[in-house]
Each structure stands twice: as C-alpha cells, then as structure tokens.
Amino acid sequence: MSFIDTVFAATNSLLSGALNTILSALFAIIIGTISGILLGFLLCYANRYFRFPVRLYVDIIRGIPGLVTLFSVYFFLGYFLQGYGIDLSPLISGIIALSAMCAADVAELTRGALQSIPQGQTEAGKAIGLRFDQIFFKILFPQAAVHILPPWVNTATEMVKGSTLLSLIGVSELLLTANQLVATNGNALSYYSLIGLIFFLLNSLIQFLGARLEKRLTFFTRIKGDY
C-alpha cells in the first residue's frame, strides 16, 4: 500500500485523533481562560489571604513541566477521586491538566494587563460615581483585554501543542494515532509530517481568529491624528 492508501485506510482513527486533540485543547482554552481571568482578578484586587494561595498556584504550575502537572492530575488526583468512586478518564485528566496550565498563564497575563492600566482610569471612574464593579467591567477590563489578547493567542497555540502530552497517558490524540500508524506501517516521516501539518493548520486558525479579534478590540489605539 502506498502512503496515501494507508492514510485513507486510517481516516477514521486520524479523524478521531484530530477530534481528541481539538476537544482537549478547546476545552482547556475555554476553561483555562475563564478561570485564569478570575484568578488574575484575584491577584490584583483580593486581600492577601486570597491572593497568597492564588499566587502559589500560579507560580507552581508555571514553574513545573507540563508533563509533571499531567501525571500529577492523572495519577494522584485520579487515585484520590477513585476513593470517592469517581473514575477519571485519561481524556478528562488531560483536559484538567491543560486547563490548569492555561489558567495559570492567563492569570499572569490578566494581572499584568490590569496593573498596566493607569490609576487615573479608576479614579476618573470613581469621580463620576461609578461603583467598583462598573469600573471593572466598563473601564478596566475592556482596556486590559487589548493587552491580554496577543499573548493569549500564544498561550492558546501552546495548549494545542501541549495536547500531545496526553499521548503519554493513553489519550488517542493525533500524536498517539500517528505513533500507532508508524508502528504498523512504518513511514515515520510521512505520518509525522501529516500530523505536523494538521497542528500547523489548527494554530494558524487560532492566530487568524486572534488577529481579527485584536483588530476589533484595538480600534481605539490605532486611530491617530485627525486633529
């Protein structure tokens, strides 16, 4: 069989591999972004008793290899939950671990972005009588989002790439699928090139969407002149 024929023969497993890659990255990005923004908010505004554990979490997750986080979730959290009769599947473990990594990164991005907004913005909001929640949602976050977006696109692509780690706990995502195809058919270069191309296309899509969103968010920083 030629390479093309084996690819067609393996269409189903490749598709389900791609689906697992996309699912794990997508859920990790969504869950990680939402919780990361929340954690970043706490890093900025919570009192130190809330801030300290969040700081600890963010520093630990960012300071250890993703594989260690993944194994910790899969083996330790999985073992712990088994005591309560909950079975943690490899895919769910993987999504939890990736989300945890994404959240830590996004928390740090959010904190940095919020802190880079001049104090005068908050004060101007206060001066017209806005409450803190109104100031946050109407004034601070929209401006912070502009700073968060470019590095966030980077974090999102890291999650897509990082999802290959899940192959090591037996999730049949793209890399594990390719490994299996290579094991039966050989032709390593072709298979790995093929999944490499798929990863490249996925991340190109993220970058394309990110660039479009950035254009929409930053309209007010781009217009200059016209006095």
Binding site: G129, P142, F220, T221, Y227
Partner: protein
Amino acid sequence: MPELILEIRDVEKWYGVNKIFEEVSLEVNSGEVVSIIGSSGSGKTTLLRCVNLLESFQKGSILIDGNEVGYHTVEGKRKRLSEKTIAHQRVLTGMVFQSFNLFPHMTALRNVTLGLIKVKNMNKEEAEEIGRKWLERVGLSDKLASYPSQLSGGQQQRVAIARAVAMNPKIMLFDEATSALDPELVGEVLNVIKQLADDGTTMLIVTHEMHFAFEVSSKVVFMDAGKISAVGTPHEIFIEKKSPRLKEFLANFNV
C-alpha cells in the same frame, strides 16, 4: 443669604507618618469660585482628593450641601462609609484631573454619557442629549464620535470637563486642569472654565495660573507648610500680598 455648598472643617491628612496638612477649614458658597494656590507639595491636590473622597483623611469633616460625606460616627467612633455609599456621594462633586483621564476606548460622547447612564440611570437618548449639549458648550460639537487619541490635549480636557459637569454636581473641582497642556492650548480650557464660572457654577480650583485665579476667583486660598496660610479676595492675595511667605511665593510668578 448665600447657600453654603462645601464646608471643610478642621481636616487633617496623614500619609503614613507624614502629616500633609492640618487645621484646614474652608467654606465655599453657591456660585462662588475659590482658587487654591501654593507651592508644589503643599497639599493642594491632596485636599481636592479628600473632598472628592479619593483620599481618606484622619480628622475633621467635610460637608457638601449640609451633609457630611465620607465618614460617619458609630458609637463614638469615626468610620469611613462603605464604598457604595461613597460612590453615591461622589456624584455631588465633579472632578477634573491634570492628566484628563478620559476613557480611551470610548468616544467623546460616550465618555460623557457613561456616568449619566450607569450612575444616574438615564436611558441612552436622555443621556446623549445631555452629552451633546455639554460637548457643544465646551466647543466640541464636531468631535462627538472622536476617540481621545484623535483629540488634542486641550480638546481632551474639555471633554473631561463636559464629563464632570454633565453629572450636575454641586461643586466642580479642578486640579491644575491646564498644567499638562502645551501653552497654546491653555487658553481654550481656561475659557471653558471661565464660562462655567460666569454661568454661576460653584468651583474649587487648584491652579498655577495666577492671572486666571485673579480674574475668576471670588476668594483665593494660599496653602503653605501644611496649613492654609492666607485667605482673601483676589485683591488681598495678589495685590496686597499680606504675609511675607505669600510675597515670596508670588514673586516666582511675577504678579
């Protein structure tokens, strides 16, 4: 009988172990324009920020329209009010900052209507009508849809003035509203402030523009060494220059 709008009673302010000022008392009546002058670091900005409740203060009280703001006394103890209550009280004052502080992601009109909609609970149409009216009053009817980055400093500061005054405060507070501007843009902003003064707006103005203070003020306050060191009519302060410290200070401004 003039109506008392702002009453500062014996206020004392500390930053940690540093006393910024003490025994500061000041009254501003309805329609009055009171200017605060004084050397850098004498506490002028800090005093305005206390009135606007952006700063806490350790002693004394501030009354706006007869009601104490910022603090209340429970069981003999002085306590700062909740942030929510303070947010309501801030509507009584309109603040214009040295650095404009416009919201960069909003058009000029939206900068003005945000507070009207969110704080005064107006609907969009009402708010925009008021917003347009005030932007027109400050000479920016052709800039409603412009973003701050498209406006000159003088135009930005005029939007900031419109934003504050549109909330219909009891008193307007100006903190060196023209200090961040190129010299050729100072005039247009001072003219707007002067126009507000002529319309009977009650104002407390911190300024280094001595000629302007002389022209518009009903009363001038000289702050020095952590106290109010002189109060008087513009004539008493700028022409008679009663104290030696005042003379020394004004010598820097060749007035």
